[in-house]
Amino acid sequence: MKLFHYAAPQHFYPLAGRLWPWLALMATVLALVGLWVGFMVAPSDAQQGQAYRIIYIHVPVSWMAMVIYLAMAFWSVLGLVFNTRLSGLMTRALAPTGALLAFLSLWTGALWGKPMWGTYWVWDARLTSMLILLFLYLGYIALTSAIEDPRRSDRAGALVAVVGAVNVPIIYFSVKWWNTLHQGASVSLTQSPSMASIMLTGMLLMSLAVWLYAAAIALWRVRSMILERDSHAAWVHQLPEVLAHRAHRDWRGAA
């Protein structure tokens, strides 16, 4: 039962408030260190020269775009099975960040593709499935914002999130299943890394930074969503920040 304690928005709100500043701080520090390692310390690549350095942005962002969709699917399953109120809110809070990261992944990939492949875009299996991921994010956002009733909109969105999750393994394995222009995975859990350890360090630092950033921004966003959806509830009206806001508004109204 303790597990579901934080499934109530009322209990999750203060927890998220305590967590997100620390996550954001750590994300900033790690990103600065990761960028320093990636752009200052790591040597240039033997084949690709300086242009390879886009991987310090491109790879972490692409990973996270996929991970966030899986996280959305996870929360959606939880919401559909247990009917917890927080699940829909978490799914919703993750979606804009996922869309942003998917877009950044495509964008940085295009910028890298021009000098390397000679084109910004090809209809390669990896690129196409990533584009579909972006559309899934956008479709989720469009669908949930089109339905007025919040619970119904959460359910409809959850369905999209769960069904669309099929796309994530397709993205991941596309470089193996099809003969793609996109190169294979640079990092693997089963084999020893094929890249220099300093490059790997930079990439992992950036991945951690993006990971923490996504968590921080999602928690920050879910707090606003909780306040908005529970605006009729008594506990919201007793929150110190809400009381302070109201006092400030009254004071301005009086002045």
Partner: protein, 249 residues
């Protein structure tokens, strides 16, 4: 008790609001429309999303052969921009018509053509500009090069201007008949725009574009037509104004 204050005429005591100049009224309306659009993002983002999605679905459906894509790219983008423009056309006057603010605009002292121009300009900025900016980006997906991208952008511009002006012309007089006007306007627009587009050769093959006419004409042509379409839009505005004045009190 005949104090001097009592001899002052009442009209001097009541603050006389200064009438806004047409420019001020136009700017105010423009700002209002833009602010409303920023608050209801879903309305116009939907059309933009539609445009991107349609353009991305064609290569998925047809296949990724670069030669084929380069062949169909401009046409697909042209059709997609046309349909997306028609999708967002509904928000040009309908919401204002329903809540009565269109009537108030027509009754206001500000000159009606200025008001309609402001609404057209706001509509173009909200739903036309994103299409124009996006179409070269989508052109990259079809393997179009520098010159082709310029054409695609210019044609999106042209397309949207045409749809808006015709839309304004057609929607204006038809406000009364709500039931069929959506369908009618859609059909009429599709045929009128398609007809004009085909006549101008907008849907021509990409590789034929630079050779068909001189590059200069190609770049300037759509822009010239766009500027030519603006007076048309104003005519639409006048027609709308006249129609409303007839219906009004």
């Amino acid at each position: 008790m005949n104090t001097p204050a009592m001899t002052v005429p009442v009209s001097a005591l009541v603050a006389q609001p200064a009438l806004p100049s047409p420019w001020q009224a136009m700017l105010g309306l423009l700002r209002r429309d833009l602010r409303l659009a920023l608050r209801r993002k879903a309305e116009w983002l939907g059309a933009v999303f539609f445009f991107v999605l349609v353009a991305a679905l064609f290569p998925l459906a047809i296949g990724p052969e670069p030669a084929t894509l380069r062949l169909i790219g401009p046409g697909v983008l042209w059709v997609a921009a046309l349909l997306a423009s028609m999708l967002s056309l509904g928000r040009l006057f309908d919401a204002d018509h329903q809540d009565g603010s269109l009537e108030q605009l027509a009754l206001s002292v500000a000159p009606l053509p200025w008001m309609v121009s402001a609404k057209l300009l706001a509509h173009w900025l909200i739903s036309g500009l994103p299409l124009v900016l996006l179409s070269p980006l989508l052109g990259l997906q079809f393997g179009l090069g520098g010159r082709g991208l310029g054409h695609v952008g210019a044609h999106a511009l042209d397309r949207h201007a045409r749809v808006v002006t015709f839309g304004c012309n057609w929607r204006g007089p038809h406000f009364g008949c709500a039931r069929w006007r959506g369908v009618a306007v859609a059909f009429a627009l599709a045929f009128v725009c398609a007809g004009v587009g085909v006549r101008h050769g907008c849907g021509r093959r990409a590789d034929a574009w630079p050779r068909g006419r001189s590059a200069c004409v190609h770049h300037v042509g759509p822009l010239a037509r766009f500027s030519g379409a603006q007076p048309l839009g104003l005519c639409g505005g006048f027609a709308l104004g006249a129609g409303m004045k007839r219906e009004g009190p």
